[in-house]
């Protein structure tokens, strides 16, 4: 992936009009069955500009033409349009809360634990979870599913690979989280990267799933969907929350990003705020 300084002061970013975005989302819907029309407009527009710059398209129409004439280009498009920036143990205090309160609470009434990472991207949060479970001695009791809309990013997540450059931040976060060992213990090291050890990685079932159009496929004790719905507008956030709600057992937990909120959603009252700081909710009504 190229370095992203698409906002550099010397370059004029491509100005994209709303009607161009509408045409684009329609083509994608008609040809590929993905629905982007309710994505948040500010970030979606930036993603489109980014693709136009990256592939040196002259206009949105040129991009539309490519999508019409070259179906194999869509996979690349999908990888670039979705935001795949993530880190291990982002918000260390959140992960402490999961370890010290949420998981013990779930295990009060169950001896098994089912977890869904909805919108797992390149997998950093899933790896964080695996290591956390390992450190709690719960890896064998857990069933972990990770899904994303983008097949290419799932393939990457499945490899368990993290570049050495990114590992610096992950390591800092892990120490702030208060992990009880050293992060590299869970990875095999080679020249450029670290790879999550296979006994941890093999615990995870990675699948392709589209939150927007996909169906509810199972029920979980804990669903993590952090900083995923921020790319949706309010209508779509609302619809997706119905699915997340249905995917939880009663009294199951939902975790969203630290600056996301459910209060503008229809079914906010079916959740109880467990930790407002870390944005952890509990399903209290069917």
């Amino acid at each position: 992936m190229p370095e992203n300084n698409y906002f550099s002061a010397t370059k004029t970013m491509h100005e994209i009009e709303i009607n161009e975005i509408r045409r684009l989302t329609k083509i994608i819907q008609d040809n590929y069955g993905f629905d982007f029309k309710d994505y948040a407009i500010s970030s979606f527009r930036r993603r489109i500009s980014r693709i136009i710059d990256l592939y040196k398209f002259k206009s949105v129409d040129a991009l539309i033409n490519r999508l019409n004439s070259q179906p194999e280009f869509f996979e690349e498009f999908l990888s670039e349009i979705t935001v795949n920036v993530t880190e291990m143990y982002r918000d260390p205090s959140f992960w402490k809360e999961i370890r010290d309160h949420v998981i013990p609470q779930i295990l009060l009434n169950n001896n098994k634990l089912s977890i869904w990472h909805a919108g797992c991207s390149s997998g950093e949060e899933v790896y964080s979870m695996c290591i956390l479970l390992e450190e709690m001695g719960l890896l064998d009791k857990a069933n972990v599913i990770a899904t994303d809309i983008d097949t290419a990013i799932i393939s990457r997540a499945k490899q368990g690979k993290i570049s050495k450059k990114n590992m610096v931040l992950n390591d800092k976060n892990y120490h702030r989280f208060g992990g009880n060992s050293s992060l590299d213990k869970y990875f095999d090291e080679d020249r450029e990267s670290y790879t999550l050890k296979s006994d941890l990685l093999n615990k995870v079932s990675f699948r392709k799933h589209d939150l927007v159009k996909g169906f509810v496929f199972s029920k979980f004790d804990l669903v993590l969907c952090r900083n995923v719905m921020i790319y949706f507008n309010q209508t779509l956030q609302n619809n997706v929350l119905y699915k997340l709600h249905e995917s939880l057992f009663k009294y199951g937990y939902l975790a969203i990003g630290s600056k996301e909120s459910l209060i503008w959603c229809d079914i906010a009252n079916k959740f109880l705020v467990v930790n407002n700081e870390e944005k952890i909710y509990r399903k209290i009504k069917e």
């Binding site: 992203n4 300084n5 698409y6 906002f7 550099s8 002061a9 010397t10 970013m13 948040a40 407009i41 500010s42 970030s43 930036r46 935001v83 920036v85 993530t86 982002r90 918000d91 260390p92 800092k172 976060n173 702030r176 900083n227 719905m229 921020i230 790319y231 507008n233 309010q234 956030q237 990003g257 630290s258 600056k259 996301e260 909120s261 503008w264």
Partner: protein, 200 residues
């Protein structure tokens, strides 16, 4: 203030700053009256992993309430909004904020260019953009966008800036309407405030 064409057409103010901007921002916030009617968006470079303390530090001398908005939070008149740690803050269609965790821009998240550019897109000629002291070029592109869409552009006087890279970068790539020292910026806000009072 000579040569300043103030008007009550403006709907929002956006302020960007980095190294050396904390003091001018607190000076401005301590002078802007409580009933200043426009929303003020602050995008200041900050540590990515420190979520707490910044709003509190800015609030100590502020007459106005400062909040870090949630994603899709509606924008209200008269409030001061600070871009939260480790998120980009955009102004979204429909008068709300939209946060994102996209790639760093100009090595920054929050990036000033993103807040300025999306504010310019939504408020067009009804936006005032102010860029303060800072050690990188984030914000210059955003100021250019504000100018292109007819908004007013203001940068901190280089002599008055602790670090000049940021205002200088904006001056280099776009037309800047006013170059103000902090004291002048404060006067600017006070006069703007008066204008809206007489409007009612």
């Amino acid at each position: 203030m000579n040569g300043v064409r103030l008007s009550d057409k403006y709907k929002a103010v956006v302020i960007g700053g980095s190294a050396g901007s904390f003091k001018p921002v607190t000076q401005i916030l301590s002078s802007v009256p409580e009933d200043f009617p426009l929303p003020i968006f602050l995008c200041l470079h900050r540590l990515k992993h420190v979520r707490h303390g910044f709003v509190e530090a800015l609030s100590i001398k502020s007459n106005k309430k400062i909040i870090e908005p949630y994603d899709k939070e509606p924008i209200k008149r008269g409030l001061v909004y600070l871009a939260p740690a480790n998120y980009h803050m955009s102004i979204e269609l429909g008068n709300t904020f939209a946060l994102s965790t996209e790639e760093l821009v100009n090595n920054s998240r929050p990036a000033i260019d993103i807040t300025l550019e999306t504010a310019a897109y939504n408020y067009k000629d009804k936006l005032i953009g102010i860029l303060l002291s800072g050690a990188n070029k984030d914000g210059a592109y955003g100021m250019k966008k504000i100018k292109e869409r007819g908004g007013m552009t203001v940068v901190q006087d280089l002599e008055d800036s602790m670090i000049t890279t940021m205002p200088a970068a904006a001056l280099a790539i776009t037309e800047i309407d006013h170059v103000f020292k902090v004291e002048q910026l404060i006067q600017f806000f006070l006069q703007l405030s008066e204008l809206y009072k007489s409007k009612v």
